[in-house]
């Protein structure tokens, strides 16, 4: 246990050092690409958390991502300051998740139907926002722009100081720092009583309710946290491109999130982050070559993982590491046992 905590702390410190050093080691283009990866990894974490630890498979995590993105864009244009816009990008998707979760969990909608409903919800949002072209669809100063989206969204500024717009390096620190902060917060949450109860509900809902826990409420809270995190990721994404359009709600992205989590490893927090960055890296490399179709490669990778590493990358690596560790410990203990016998002088009995 202590070894594991120490290893996790070391990994965390290394990650922070790498994030701090990245702007000095990488050129601007790579740094901006990594900023996108980090923003999307926050989205991957939101699904990894609710699916891997709450047992809630949402096919429509993009609904909250998109709402966060649009909430940020509309608020930033109206307020001219990104600070309240970011808060709104967290609060609005969380409130929407609370509403959706209340009706589905308390309505005893089964898991499969829940997944279908979330998928439908994100497609409805896609179509609604897609059809807001024209000048009559505006919220305050912000025109929603239909399928063209909203260009020239103000990017992040220093808190409560709209004049101090963040440079790309600073945006990298914000995105990567948010990723680390969300990761650490979710890890702490999972170590708390609430997190342990949430995992218990995922393991066996009937038993949890027979112990006196209300599975509906627990799942609702997990789902709302997931929605808030996805919304925050939406704000980071819009900040990255200074632009938002309805594809943020689309089917392609909502499917990709599931692929990230599946490849990285369900039931871990680091898995979705690794899976997300890995897949995006592969896609962007293929994209620059134009020799292969990225979706084809992505499909092949997914099939390969499902067939060969069904538990995903990180759980498999962890398994190999523990196996190797226990084998080493076994060899070591045998070695010691042998020496203990040898230490005893012959005929001591």
């Amino acid at each position: 246990m202590a070894v594991k905590t120490a290893a996790q702390l070391t990994a965390l410190i290394l990650a922070v050092v790498a994030i701090a050093a990245a702007p000095m080691l990488l050129d601007l283009f790579d740094l901006i690409e990594l900023t996108l990866f980090a923003s999307m990894a926050v989205l991957a974490l939101s699904l990894g958390f609710i699916w891997g630890f709450g047992g809630i498979l949402s096919f429509g995590q993009t609904a909250f991502f998109g709402l966060g993105g649009y909430a940020y864009a509309v608020a930033a244009i109206n307020f001219g300051d990104s600070t309240p816009a970011i808060l709104l990008a967290i609060a609005l998707p969380a409130a929407f998740a609370a509403l959706l979760g209340y009706f589905t969990f308390y309505g005893r909608v089964s898991d499969v139907y829940f997944s279908v409903i979330t998928l439908t919800v994100t497609l409805i949002l896609f179509n609604v926002v897609n059809s807001t072209a024209g000048d009559e669809y505006r919220i305050g100063d912000a025109a929603l722009g239909g399928f063209n989206g909203m260009p020239a969204v103000p990017t992040f500024n220093m808190p409560f100081d709209p004049a101090a717009v963040l440079e790309p390096e600073a945006s990298w620190y914000v995105a990567a720092g948010t990723l680390v902060a969300v990761y650490v917060l979710l890890r702490l949450l999972l170590a708390s009583s609430f997190g342990r109860i949430a995992v218990a509900v995922k393991e066996n809902e009937v038993r949890a309710s027979l112990l006196g826990y209300d599975p509906r409420l627990i799942k609702l809270i997990v789902f709302v946290i997931g929605g808030a995190v996805a919304g925050l990721a939406g704000a980071l994404y819009v900040n990255w491109g200074a632009f938002v359009n309805p594809t943020i709600f689309g089917l392609a992205l909502s499917a990709q999130i599931i692929i990230w989590v599946t490849i990285g490893g369900l039931g871990t927090l680091i898995g979705p982050v690794v899976g997300c960055i890995l897949v995006q890296y592969i896609v962007s490399r293929i994209g620059t070559q134009q020799t292969f179709n990225a979706n084809l490669i992505l499909g092949a990778v997914l099939i390969g993982f499902v067939l060969l590493l069904p538990r995903g990358l990180m759980p498999t690596l962890q398994h190999i590491a523990t196996q190797a560790g226990s084998r080493l410990a076994y060899m070591f203990s045998r070695d010691n046992a042998g020496r203990a016998i040898a230490d005893r002088p012959a005929g001591a009995e």
Binding site: S193, R196, I197, V199, A200, E203, N204, V206, R207, A208, S209, L210, L211, G212, Y213, D214, P215
Partner: protein, 243 residues
């Protein structure tokens, strides 16, 4: 409650229909505080359905359930659990992916602070004789040990009334003996209802026995009387019909 004669749990005309099938038919049942009651009866007699209505897993089609003079028929399982009814279901219903300690701790945590829950978990692990396996995932344990984990979880919730559905099923003779001992220990301070098939086991623990047959109560008496009764023998051997 000042009236000690009032039952801890009672049902009135409790009925459960599955489509056209009457699983439990207008059962009037009463349990005194601190009592240990065994329910027996052939497969399909309605014992487990009766249990599931008591624990809130099924909503009764008709009738009343009263626990500590509160009506609980149709309440959600977690509400009933909070009122003080703990149940071990027929098929072990545990958190298979979590270790033994975590299972018990989660049960204790409902009413206690994390550290108190930890202390309770340690005590319970001792009582169910699984201290040495506390870090093992429950899914890796034998069937008998998983039954104990589930009984341990019920105890960790400190319920007023303990319901055990076939606690000795699939246990070795030694495990069965230890389970009987554990049940007597629990009965020192708690009321129990136990569904069981194993007549040997019932002889070890039983005081008063209720016999279910075709969704109704066939008879209710001291264990010796019940087990000698010709009608009960016929029901188990499937000789005659008694409605």
């Amino acid at each position: 409650m000042t009236d000690t004669a009032a039952p801890l749990l009672s049902t009135r005309s409790l009925t459960m229909l599955f489509g056209g099938v009457v699983a439990v038919d207008a059962v009037d049942f009463s349990l005194a505080p601190g009592e240990l009651r065994c329910l027996i009866g052939p497969n399909g007699a309605g014992k487990s359905t009766f249990f599931k209505m008591l624990s809130g897993q099924y909503v009764p089609t008709a009738g009343e359930i009263t626990f500590r003079s509160r009506s609980i028929a149709g309440s959600a399982p977690h509400e009933i659990a909070r009122l003080g009814i703990g149940i071990k279901t027929q098929v072990p219903n545990v958190f298979n992916g979590l270790d033994v300690h975590e299972n018990i701790w989660l049960a204790a945590r409902r009413r206690n602070s994390p550290s108190t829950a930890r202390r309770i978990a340690r005590d319970i692990l001792e009582r169910i004789r699984l201290s040495h396996r506390s870090m093992v995932p429950v899914g890796h344990l034998s069937h008998g040990q998983r039954q104990w984990v589930e009984i341990g979880m019920v105890l960790a919730g400190d319920p007023e009334l303990v319901l055990l559905d076939e606690p000795a099923a699939g246990m070795t003779d030694e495990e069965t003996r230890l389970t009987a001992e554990l049940i007597r220990e629990i009965n020192a301070s708690r009321a129990l209802i136990i569904v069981e098939h194993d007549i040997q086991f019932i002889r070890m623990i039983a005081d008063k026995v209720t016999v279910f047959h075709q969704g109704g109560i066939l008879m209710e008496d001291k264990a010796d009387t019940v087990l000698k009764d010709q009608r009960v023998r016929d029901v188990y051997l499937g000789k005659k019909e008694y409605a």
